[in-house]
C-alpha cells in the first residue's frame, strides 16, 4: 500500500473541495473494495477523502419513490421497511452479496463504484487492459469462468460484480451527482460504460464528481419482485448468474409491466431491455419467458470456461419469471 493523505469531509461540497479536482484523489466510503485494491497494489491514490459522513438517509416519499443517501450502509438499505415493501428485489440483491460484516461497512455509492473481481485485474503480474490500457488481457485465454458473456470487447470481458446494482438497473434508478462543475442527475443505466477499447474508464463520472444520492422512482410492479443469485457456494461468492425481476400480470394473463436485469453475465449491470420488449403485453407463459430469454442472450459470446452461463442465464430467467407468476410452472 502506498502512503496517502486522508481527510474526512462533513458534506459533499467539502469532499469536492478536498479532492481538489485531482485525478489521484479517491473518495472513500466503507473501504470494503478500495482498501483491498490499495493493499493489492492495484489502486494507488495519494489522497483519500472519507465521504462516509455524507447522507445516510433513506427517505421514503409519498409518491412511492425512495431516496438513498450515498453513504447509507448496505445493511441499512436492505433492512429498511419501506425498501422491503416497495422494492423487495433490492433487499434480496443486497443480502445476497458479500457477508454481513462487509454489508455493515459498504455504502450505496461505494457498492456502485466497486471494481471487477477478474483474477487477472487483481494480479499485477498479469496483463490487464483495465489496469494498464493496451497491455493485453490474460483472461481471454485464461481462467474466464467468472467473466462476461454480454457487453465484452476484444480488450475486456470482466464482469461488474455488484448484486445491488443489478436491482438498481432493473428499477430505473437515478443517480444524483455533485462535482466541481455543479450538480446533475443521470439514469443508472448510463453510469457504467461498456469496456470497448477503454476498459479502464468504467463510469461516466467526471474527475472529482461524487455520487450523493440514488433515487428509486415509483414502480408498482416492483412490489412483486425478486432477486435470484446462482453461485458456487451458498454465501460469500460472486454471482455466476443473477436475475433481478419484477413482474405484473394483468387479469387477462398478459404481462402488464416487467423489469428484468442480469448480474454475473455482463461487463456492466445488465438491463435486459430486449427481453422486456418481448414480455411486455405478451401472455405470461413459460413459452414467452423462454422466448424473452433467448432474445436477450442471443448476442451472448462464451469463452473457454464461461459458455455455460448462456444456458444458465436463460434457465434462470425463465424460472425466476415463473416464480413471480403463480400460474406458471417450469
Amino acid at each position: 500500500m502506498n502512503p496517502f493523505d486522508y481527510a474526512r469531509a462533513g458534506d459533499a461540497a467539502e469532499a469536492i473541495r478536498l479532492a481538489g479536482g485531482r485525478a489521484d484523489a479517491k473518495y472513500l466510503g466503507g473501504g470494503t473494495n478500495l482498501v483491498d485494491l490499495m493493499r493489492e497494489g492495484i489502486e494507488h491514490p495519494t489522497h483519500l477523502i472519507d465521504v462516509s459522513r455524507l447522507s445516510h438517509e433513506i427517505a421514503a416519499r409519498d409518491d412511492g419513490s425512495v431516496l438513498l443517501g450515498a453513504a447509507a450502509k448496505n445493511t441499512a438499505v436492505a433492512a429498511d421497511p419501506v425498501v422491503r415493501e416497495r422494492f423487495p428485489m433490492l433487499t434480496r440483491a443486497i443480502v445476497a452479496g458479500a457477508s454481513g460484516q462487509i454489508r455493515n461497512m459498504a455504502t450505496v455509492a461505494g457498492n456502485m463504484l466497486q471494481r471487477t473481481r477478474c483474477l487477472y485485474f487483481y494480479d499485477d503480474a498479469a496483463r490487464c487492459n483495465k489496469r494498464t490500457p493496451g497491455a493485453g488481457c490474460d483472461a481471454m485465454e485464461g481462467f474466464n469462468r467468472f467473466h462476461a458473456i454480454l457487453g465484452g470487447s476484444d480488450a475486456c470481458v470482466a464482469t461488474h460484480p455488484s448484486d445491488m446494482c443489478v436491482a438498481l438497473a432493473a428499477l430505473d434508478a437515478v443517480v444524483h451527482l455533485q462535482g466541481p462543475q455543479g450538480a446533475r442527475s443521470i439514469p443508472f443505466a448510463e453510469l457504467h460504460r461498456l469496456p470497448g477499447g477503454r476498459p479502464d474508464v468504467e463510469t461516466e463520472l467526471g474527475t472529482g464528481e461524487l455520487i450523493v444520492a440514488v433515487e428509486l422512482p415509483p414502480l408498482a410492479a416492483a412490489r412483486h419482485s425478486t432477486y435470484r443469485k446462482v453461485r458456487d457456494r451458498s454465501s460469500y461468492a460472486f454471482a455466476l448468474v443473477s436475475i433481478a425481476a419484477a413482474l405484473e400480470v394483468g387479469a387477462d394473463g398478459k404481462v402488464a409491466d416487467v423489469r428484468l436485469a442480469l448480474g454475473g453475465v455482463g461487463t456492466k449491470p445488465w438491463r435486459a431491455l430486449a427481453a422486456e420488449a418481448v414480455l411486455r403485453g405478451a401472455a405470461a407463459t413459460e413459452e414467452t419467458f423462454r422466448k424473452a430469454a433467448e432474445v436477450e442472450l442471443q448476442p451472448a459470446v462464451g469463452l473457454s470456461d464461461n459458455g455455460f452461463k448462456i444456458e444458465l442465464a436463460k434457465r434462470t430467467i425463465v424460472h425466476t419469471l415463473a416464480s413471480l407468476c403463480p400460474g406458471v410452472r417450469t
Binding site: 502512503p3 469462468r145 434457465r315
Partner: protein, 760 residues
C-alpha cells in the same frame, strides 16, 4: 524393496505381541466429553499465537514473490525501497547470508522443510511465487510499502507448468512414502479384460491450497549465540533441527515454541519464510516478525497436488473382484518428495484376485506440493469409491452389499493380519442412523420442487501411524499434582485436553490435577503432529515414562510402605496412588509416598518403544460416509442436506473433541467435493486465486448438521486401543457426495470439484 527389507519385515512378524495396554478398557477419564482446557484462553483472546509474541525492538518483514516460473533474476532494483521510511534492510540473493539448503521432510530424518532448494542463495527461479526479496522495516506497513518498490527484471526460461502436456513423461518415483510405487498381484489387465463386468474410468482432482485460519508466521530473535523461534508449526523439534542446520547452530542453541497453532492440516512445517526471517534478524541484529499474507501462503507454502487417476474394476457375476486396478499420475517438483499416495486405499480395502496399483509423478515448476489433510487417501478414495459405486450400479447391487462381498480376510497387498477392522460394523451402524434402507436406488427418482434429492455412500480409510522417537516426562509433586510434558502440538484438535485425560487415567488422578505441557523444544522430544499419529505417539511415551515412574515410586516407598515387596505388574494406579490389583486396600497415595520420602517432587522421563505394531499388523481406521444432496434441476446447484459419518477408529478418547475432528474433516471433504480448486494458470505457472474470496472453502450455509458416530472398539495392538482421527474424516467424502449427486441426477462427475456447470 530390498532383500534386507523383505527379510526384516518377515522377521518382525515372528516377534511375539506385547501385552495389550492394561488401560485399554479404562473409562475413568478416557471416554469422557471434556471441554477444551484451552477454550477459555482462546475465546477471550488470551492464547498468545506466534504473531502476537512481544519483543523489545521488534521489526517487521515483508516478502516479494517472483512473477515467473523458471529462469533467472536479471537485475533487482532495491534503492528506492532502501530509501523508503523505516526500512532497515532489503535482502535479496545478492546480500542474503550464505546458508545451506534446509533438510527435506521425509527424506532427511531431521528435516522439516517442504522443499530442498536453498533459500534466496542465487539468481535462479524455480517457481512462480518464489521469494525474491525481503524488506525489514520498523512497522509492518512500512515493510509492505517498501517491498512494493523493489523492481525485478527476469530472464524467463521455458517452464514445466502444463500437466496435460507433460504427463506423458510421468514415471514411477523410487518409492511412495517408503512404500513401493507399484504393486502387482497376478495379471490384472488380463483379468480385467476377461471379467464379465467392467468399470474403467479416469478421475481427476485439482490442486488444493491450505487455508488454515492462522497465517504462517515466525517471530524470531537471536540471543546469546542462538535463536529463539516463535513459530506456528506441527513439528517443533524438526523445525529446530532444520533451522540449526541452516544456520550452523548446535540444536540446543535453537529453541522453538509453538503453544498454539491456528490450524495445521499438513503444511505447517518449514518453508522459506522461517529461513528468511531468521537470516534477516541475524543481519539487522533485532528480533523480526514475518507474517505471510494470505497470498504469501498460496505462493510460498505448498498445497495438495493435482492427480489424474484410473480405476478399473473387473467383477464376476457374484460381485467379487477378478481385477482391481488403480493407477495414476500426480504432479510433483524435483525439490520435494510428496507423491500424493492416492493408491494407498486400494492396497487395503478390497479383496481381489489380481491387482495393479501404480503411482507415477511428473515434475513441474510449481511451489513444492505438500501434505494436506489425508494426503493420498482423500483424493484416492474419491476415485476408488466412485468406481465402487459405479460397479454396484453395474451389478445391480446395493453399494453396501457390494462392500460386504469384497471384505478381505487379511491385508490384500501386504498379507498382514488386520489389527482391528470393523468396517462392515461401521456401515451397519451408519446405515441405520442415516436410514439407508429408504433410499431409492434409481437415479432422479426423488424430487422436491426444484430440487432433485440423492443419497450416496463411500468408504473412509486412513492408516494408523505412531511415530518413533518421542519421549515424555512426568513430574509428580508432593501436593499430588502431575505435570506431563512432551514437545507435541495443539493445533485446535484437542491435544492439550485429551492428553491431560489420558495421563490422568494412567496416573489414577483426577484430570484437574494433571497439566499437559507441549509446544516447546525445551520439553522432552516430541514427534510431529502429522499422519494422525500424535495421540498414539504421546500416549505411548507417557506410558513408558509412567513405567519408570512406578519403579521410582516403589523405590521411594521403601520397606515401610504397604507397597513393599510388590512389583509394578501387581499394581494399578487409582485414587491418587498405587494399589494392589487384587487387594484394593493395599496401597499408598503419591502424596504419602513423597511425604515419607521427604521429596517435593519426582520426575521421570522415558522414550516410547519403537512402533513395532505397525510392522506386524495392517493397521488402519475405517468409516462409512453417508451423504444426501439436493441438486437444483434448473441451475445445477448442489447443496448437501444431510451427512452421517460412521467411524471405526479404535477407542475414542474424548467424544466431544473427537466429534469436532470428524466433523472438521467432513467439512473439508465437502470443500474438496464441491468447491476447492487452486486456479493454476498453466501458461505462467501462477496461482490466480490466492485469496479466500476466490479460493472457496465451505461457508456455514454449505454445511448441514453433520451426525458422527463411532464403533468405539479398541485396537488391541495400540496404546489405549486408540487410532488417531485427525484425517479420516475427509476421506471418502468426495465420493460420497459424487455418488449422491449421481443418485440425484443420473450424472456421474469424475472431475472435482463438482460445480454446477458440470451438471447443467
Amino acid at each position: 524393496m530390498t532383500i534386507m527389507d523383505s527379510l526384516f519385515k518377515k522377521a518382525v512378524r515372528l516377534i511375539p505381541d506385547k501385552a495389550p495396554d492394561p488401560l485399554i478398557g479404562a473409562e475413568r477419564q478416557v471416554g469422557r466429553s471434556l471441554s477444551r482446557v484451552d477454550g477459555p484462553l482462546k475465546v477471550t483472546g488470551q492464547a498468545r499465537f506466534a504473531a502476537e509474541v512481544p519483543f523489545k525492538n521488534l521489526v517487521y518483514a515483508a516478502t516479494k514473490y517472483s512473477a515467473i516460473a523458471r529462469g533467472r533474476i536479471a537485475s533487482i532494483e532495491t534503492e528506492e525501497a532502501k530509501q523508503a521510511p523505516g526500512v532497515l534492510l532489503v535482502m535479496t540473493h545478492e546480500n542474503a547470508p550464505r546458508m545451506p539448503a534446509p533438510p527435506l521432510m521425509m527424506k532427511d530424518p531431521k528435516g522439516a522443510s517442504g522443499s530442498s532448494l536453498p533459500v534466496m542463495q542465487d539468481a535462479s527461479i524455480h517457481w512462480n511465487g518464489e521469494p525474491v526479496a525481503v524488506v525489514v522495516a520498523e512497522t509492518q506497513e512500512q515493510a509492505d510499502h517498501a517491498v512494493s518498490l523493489v523492481r525485478v527484471k527476469y530472464d524467463a526460461q521455458p517452464a514445466r507448468t502444463d500437466f496435460d502436456r507433460l504427463k506423458s513423461e510421468a514415471h514411477e518415483p523410487e518409492n511412495v512414502l517408503g512404500e513401493p510405487s507399484r504393486i502387482a498381484i497376478g495379471d490384472a489387465e488380463a483379468a480385467l479384460a476377461a471379467a464379465p463386468v467392467r468399470i474403467d474410468n479416469i478421475y481427476r482432482t485439482p490442486r488444493h491450497n491450505h487455508a488454515a485460519m492462522e497465517l504462517h508466521v515466525i517471530t524470531v530473535a537471536w540471543q546469546e549465540g542462538g535463536i529463539i523461534v516463535h513459530d506456528t508449526t506441527q513439528m517443533v523439534h524438526l523445525t529446530r533441527s532444520t533451522l540449526a542446520e541452516v544456520f550452523g547452530l548446535p540444536e540446543e542453541h535453537v529453541r522453538v515454541l509453538s503453544p498454539f497453532v491456528g490450524g495445521g492440516f499438513g503444511n505447517k512445517g518449514v518453508w522459506s519464510h522461517q529461513v528468511l526471517a531468521t537470516a534477516a534478524s541475524q543481519v539487522v541484529g533485532r528480533p523480526v516478525r514475518m507474517v505471510l499474507s494470505r497470498e504469501g501462503v498460496f505462493r510460498a507454502t505448498g498445497g495438495r497436488t493435482l492427480t489424474e487417476q484410473r480405476v478399473a474394476l473387473g467383477a464376476k457375476a457374484d460381485g467379487t473382484l477378478a481385477a482391481l486396478i488403480h493407477t495414476g499420475i500426480a504432479g510433483m517438483t524435483d525439490h520435494n518428495d510428496c507423491p500424493e499416495q492416492f493408491t494407498f486405499p486400494a492396497r487395503h480395502l478390497y479383496a481381489a484376485e489380481s491387482m495393479l496399483l501404480r503411482q507415477e509423478i511428473v515434475e513441474l515448476d510449481m511451489v513444492a506440493n505438500t501434505f494436506m489433510r489425508a494426503p493420498g487417501e482423500s483424493v484416492g478414495t474419491f476415485a476408488l469409491e466412485s468406481a465402487m459405486d459405479e460397479l454396484a450400479e453395474a451389478l445391480s447391487l446395493d453399494p453396501i452389499e457390494l462392500r460386504g462381498r469384497l471384505e478381505p480376510a487379511k491385508d490384500p497387498a501386504s498379507g498382514l493380519t488386520f489389527s482391528a477392522r470393523h468396517l462392515l460394523e461401521a456401515y451397519r451402524r451408519g446405515a441405520d442412523r442415516f436410514g439407508w434402507d429408504k433410499r431409492n436406488r434409481v437415479p432422479r427418482a426423488a424430487i422436491d420442487g426444484d430440487w432433485l434429492i440423492g443419497q450416496g455412500v463411500a468408504t473412509a480409510t486412513y492408516p494408523y501411524f505412531r511415530m518413533p522417537g518421542g519421549s515424555a516426562s512426568i513430574k509428580l509433586t508432593a501436593e499430588g499434582d502431575a505435570v506431563v510434558s512432551m514437545a507435541s502440538h495443539e493445533m485446535g484438535m484437542g491435544t492439550a485436553t485429551v492428553q491431560a485425560q489420558t495421563a490422568a487415567e494412567r496416573l489414577g488422578l483426577p484430570v484437574e490435577r494433571v497439566t499437559f505441557e507441549y509446544g516447546d523444544t525445551a520439553l522432552p522430544h516430541g514427534t510431529l503432529a502429522g499422519g494422525s499419529s500424535q495421540s498414539a505417539s504421546i500416549v505411548a511415551a507417557v506410558m513408558a515414562a509412567n513405567d519408570v515412574l512406578v519403579k521410582e515410586l516403589l523405590k521411594l516407598a521403601g520397606n515401610d510402605s504397604p507397597l513393599a515387596g510388590l512389583k509394578p505388574r501387581d499394581l494399578e494406579a487409582r485414587d491418587g496412588g498405587l494399589f494392589h490389583r487384587e487387594h484394593p486396600a493395599r496401597g499408598e497415595t503419591y502424596v504419602s509416598i513423597l511425604k515419607r520420602a521427604n521429596r517435593s517432587e519426582v520426575v521421570c522421563e522415558a522414550a516410547a518403544p519403537q512402533p513395532m505394531e505397525m510392522l506386524k499388523y495392517s493397521m488402519h481406521s475405517y468409516g462409512a460416509q453417508f451423504c444426501e444432496v439436493r441438486v437444483n434441476r434448473i441451475t445445477g446447484e448442489v447443496r448437501v442436506s444431510r451427512f452421517v459419518g460412521s467411524f471405526d477408529t479404535g477407542r475414542i478418547l474424548n467424544p466431544k473433541t473427537a466429534a469436532s475432528q470428524f466433523r472438521g474433516g467432513i467439512i473439508m471433504g465437502l470443500g474438496l467435493a464441491l468447491m476447492e480448486h487452486t486456479l493454476f494458470d498453466s501458461r505462467s505457472g501462477r496461482i490466480m486465486n490466492p485469496s479466500l474470496a476466490e479460493y472457496h472453502v465451505p461457508v456455514h450455509l454449505d454445511v448441514p448438521a453433520i451426525d458422527v458416530i463411532w464403533n468405539d472398539i479398541p485396537d488391541p495392538h495400540s496404546p489405549l486401543g486408540l487410532h488417531g482421527i485427525g484425517e479420516i474424516g475427509i476421506t471418502g467424502v468426495g465420493a460420497a457426495v459424487a455418488n449422491a449427486v449421481y443418485n440425484a441426477t443420473g450424472r456421474r462427475i469424475r472431475d472435482l470439484p463438482i460445480t454446477l456447470d458440470k451438471l447443467l
